[in-house]
């Protein structure tokens, strides 16, 4: 039989009761779960699975260059599609290399399935070649993990793993697969229908308590200075959550801010949008959070980047917290009305109650509140001066936004100053367009995430806004981009410093720039060419536009080395240990007694 005929035959769905090898059970289960692409890297313990991949056409395998890249690529895929990302790595180093990606996915609540090879069951615990205690190592960095010891449990374990990864608060799930289990013959089982209701223990609450929603909406209706504070939970809630949020915000007329993770759920072009909240969030957002009387948190977790000093966090407000994960409630901030449920369901219920009770926002109070917000907006906290011959990083991102906003664009980032500038200056009007490492802050996230995003959206513009330090952490993935002809764009804001480290050293450590300057940087243009990509460089502000246009027009992977001001700092900023209402607006604002001191020095 020809390879093609074999593949076609192997692509048929499996039925419960079919007998087959463990490796084929895996491929069939992935297909049944809707997986169309797996990011992975082969090795001894997973060879039978790779052999099975070879014999079929249903699932596409993307060969990365490092297992960390595989997990970030799966995250990019998951975040830009709302589907579960899928990873396949070998035992030992394959699994340990995946740990950073898994932790990243856990912190940002991204559904990922990571299949790890394992030495045969009879060798487990013997310090065999490429053996690692994957279950032990990944226990704290996954939502859940499984070791499959019996091929008869393989199919049902995989189905359960997908259910756990995508249900409730999503997260990464590892399935550890000893080689003998993968090679043994066993029975295929289809996923049970309505697994969600049948799972014996894991049954997250989707529908909110009606009394909690009633109380929340009543509180909202009586608010004089309300603010919506939304997070990644709305994005994870999917299109229904986003639509309901938009309707609710417009219906109430309340201002809305969001965390880094939640950008795009509410359109940045809208008048009610205040911009991002938090350490490098907008002045008006942070002040509104500080001064509000009712805070409506939808799917955010009161992260320390958002709250600043907890003792002074929004002291005068009543707080509503909508979250699917009960452990998020009252963890950092004690709230008045917790609402446990899926963001989409809760927001739809809130809309129903608001309409049914014919609630009206207090227009007079709201008008005054908006007047106050306009005053804060008047500070123009993102202002910067593009003068002279040096490109300001903010200017580069602003131009990137202006020149790419009219097409389908997905932005990923690395971690640092460029990430914050991207969040400030790239304005997202749609969800799932913004992929960034929020919770873990993983340098090296952006390029593999862009690759995963581009796989999911082959015709869209996918751009990794990067720094020259971060990009070097997973630069090997350029080779992946070239192999699969993925036209990802890497837009490097090159200031030759680990910019955020340098900024903190300037503000906190007397300008002693210990190890934050990168000597011996590669020539990024030649580096791009060496990988088979296109390299561009721009150092003249007048040429930024034409360079961006050229980058966008090239249908191949491109690195753009943007030489930017080395001294620029990211503002506005809530100094660590300070409350929201003590933001530094810019370098001239520091004299006002806002320097970081005391306990703030010890904070991250």
């Amino acid at each position: 039989m020809s390879a093609e005929a074999l593949a076609t035959e192997n692509d048929a769905p499996a039925q419960t009761g079919d007998r087959m090898q463990g490796a084929r059970i895996i491929l069939k289960a992935l297909a049944e779960q809707g997986v169309d692409v797996v990011f992975g890297y082969p090795g001894g313990a997973v060879l039978p699975i790779y052999d099975e991949i070879f014999k079929q056409n249903r699932i596409r395998h993307i060969l990365v260059r490092h297992e960390q890249g595989a997990v970030h690529a799966a995250e990019g895929y998951a975040r830009s599609t709302g589907k579960v990302g899928c990873v396949l790595v070998t035992s030992g180093p394959g699994a340990t290399n995946a740990v950073t990606g898994l932790t990243d996915a856990l912190m940002d609540s991204i559904p990922v399935i990571c299949l790890t090879g394992q030495v045969p069951t009879h060798l487990i615990g013997n310090d065999a070649f490429q053996e690692a205690d994957t279950i032990g190592i990944t226990r704290p960095c996954t939502k859940h993990n499984y070791l499959v010891r019996d091929v008869e449990q393989l199919a049902s374990t995989l189905h359960e793993a997908f259910y756990v990864a995508r249900s409730g608060r999503p997260g990464p799930v590892v399935v550890d697969l000893p080689k003998d289990v993968v090679m043994a013959e066993g029975t295929y089982n289809q996923a049970p229908h309505g697994l969600q209701h049948k799972h014996k223990t894991y049954r997250p609450r989707f529908l909110p308590d009606a009394g909690a929603v009633e109380a929340a909406v009543k509180l909202m209706a009586g608010a004089k200075k309300p603010v919506f504070y939304t997070g990644g939970g709305v994005i994870n809630g999917g299109p229904r959550a986003v639509a309901a949020l938009r309707e609710l915000v417009r219906l109430t007329g309340f201002p809305i801010t969001s965390t880094l993770m939640g950008l795009g759920a509410y359109p940045a072009d809208d008048q009610q949008w205040l911009g991002m909240v938090g350490m490098h969030g907008m002045y008006e957002s942070n002040l509104a959070m500080h001064d509000c009387d009712v805070m409506i948190n939808i799917g955010a977790r009161f992260d320390d980047r958002v709250t600043g000093n907890l003792n002074f966090f929004s002291p005068g407000s009543k707080k509503i917290h909508v979250d699917i994960d009960p452990s998020s409630v009252n963890k950092n901030v004690i709230v008045d009305i917790p609402v446990i449920g899926d963001a989409a369901n809760v927001l739809e219920e809130m809309l129903k109650v608001w309409k049914a009770r014919k609630y009206q926002a207090d227009q007079t109070a709201l008008k005054g509140w908006w007047r106050q917000i306009e005053e804060w907006r008047g500070k123009n906290c993102l202002r910067f001066d593009q003068r002279g011959k040096i490109i300001k990083p903010q200017y580069a991102i602003q131009r990137l936004f202006d020149l790419t906003k009219d097409q389908e664009t997905y932005i990923t980032t690395e971690v640092g100053q460029h990430q914050m500038w991207a969040a400030q200056f790239y304005r997202f009007n749609e969800p799932n367009r913004w992929m960034t490492s929020g919770g873990l802050g993983t340098m090296g996230y952006g390029l593999p995430a862009a690759i995963g995003t581009q796989i999911a959206h082959p015709d869209a513009l996918v751009c990794d806004i990067a720094g020259e330090a971060s990009i070097l952490m997973n630069i090997q993935e350029l080779s992946t981009a070239v192999q699969y002809r993925l036209p990802v764009k890497v837009f490097i804001l090159n200031n030759q410093y680990m910019g955020m480290v340098r900024q903190w050293q300037e503000l906190l450590h007397g300008g002693r720039y210990s190890e934050s300057y990168t000597d011996s940087l590669p020539d990024f243009v030649k580096l791009a060419e060496a990988f088979g990509c296109v390299g561009l460089r721009v150092g003249d502000p007048a040429k930024v536009d034409e360079t961006i246009k050229e980058m966008v027009s090239i249908k191949r992977p491109v690195i753009v080395d943007v030489l930017v001001d080395q001294k620029e700092n990211c503002y506005p900023m809530i100094p660590s240990g300070k409350p929201h209402n003590q933001m530094i607006l810019g370098p001239d604002d520091r004299a006002g007694g806002n320097a970081i001191s005391g306990d703030g020095l010890a904070l991250v």
Partner: protein, 195 residues
């Protein structure tokens, strides 16, 4: 030193009766709580629970785990922890989030309960001290489960305070070694907890 949990309800100005009153959560006093978790009896489940406590910096004073239903493959973990109310609520929520955990019960908050532990206490001595140890053992209703001419092993059962007190009294009488089971706890009354 942890206080025992308050049972009286503070007056609440709750906006929603289903929530824990803010004032209660803001209480900075440390309380001791006895928790019981019903979990799948599978490899690694104890590691998940213990890892949760060490990873998040929670305090475990006492932990016992044993299978309680062979047919359903269920184990019960009894856990004594202490923390502020906010922390204890976090612990419960975090435990509940673990996939193999069926239910978590707060035996301290959910009504009256009994807790017992067993200790084997080895005491060596002769003469008056040996007689005194036996006498105190009687008072504590401890059984002698091993004896030589110069030693006893007592089996003492009771709540943690009783066992502590017994051990304390044995110190001057020749205490050699202690082995304790940790706390088994159960709610009073006819109702059982669901698996």
């Amino acid at each position: 030193m942890a206080k025992s949990a308050k049972t009286d309800q503070e007056p609440s100005a709750n906006l929603y009766e289903g929530s824990i009153p803010v004032a209660r959560l803001k209480d900075k006093d440390i309380y001791r709580h006895v928790l019981a978790a019903i979990v799948d009896n599978e490899a690694g489940v104890l590691a998940r629970v213990v890892g949760l406590f060490s990873g998040r910096g929670y305090n475990i004073e006492n932990l016992t785990v044993s299978e309680v239903d062979r047919d359903k493959q269920l184990s019960r973990i009894n856990l004594v922890t202490s923390g502020t109310r906010q922390v204890v609520e976090q612990i419960k929520a975090q435990l509940n989030r673990l996939v193999p955990v069926h239910t978590v019960h707060d035996l301290t908050d959910d009504g009256p309960s009994v807790a017992r532990e067993l200790a084997l206490v080895k005491v060596a001595g002769v003469g008056e001290k040996r007689v005194e140890a036996l006498r105190i053992g009687d008072i504590f209703r401890a059984n002698v489960v091993d004896s030589t001419t110069k030693s006893f092993v007592f089996e003492v059962v009771g709540n943690t305070e009783k066992v502590d007190a017994f051990i304390e009294l044995m110190k001057p009488l020749g205490l050699v070694e202690v082995s304790r089971t940790g706390v088994a706890a159960i709610a009073r009354g006819a109702d059982g907890i669901e698996g």
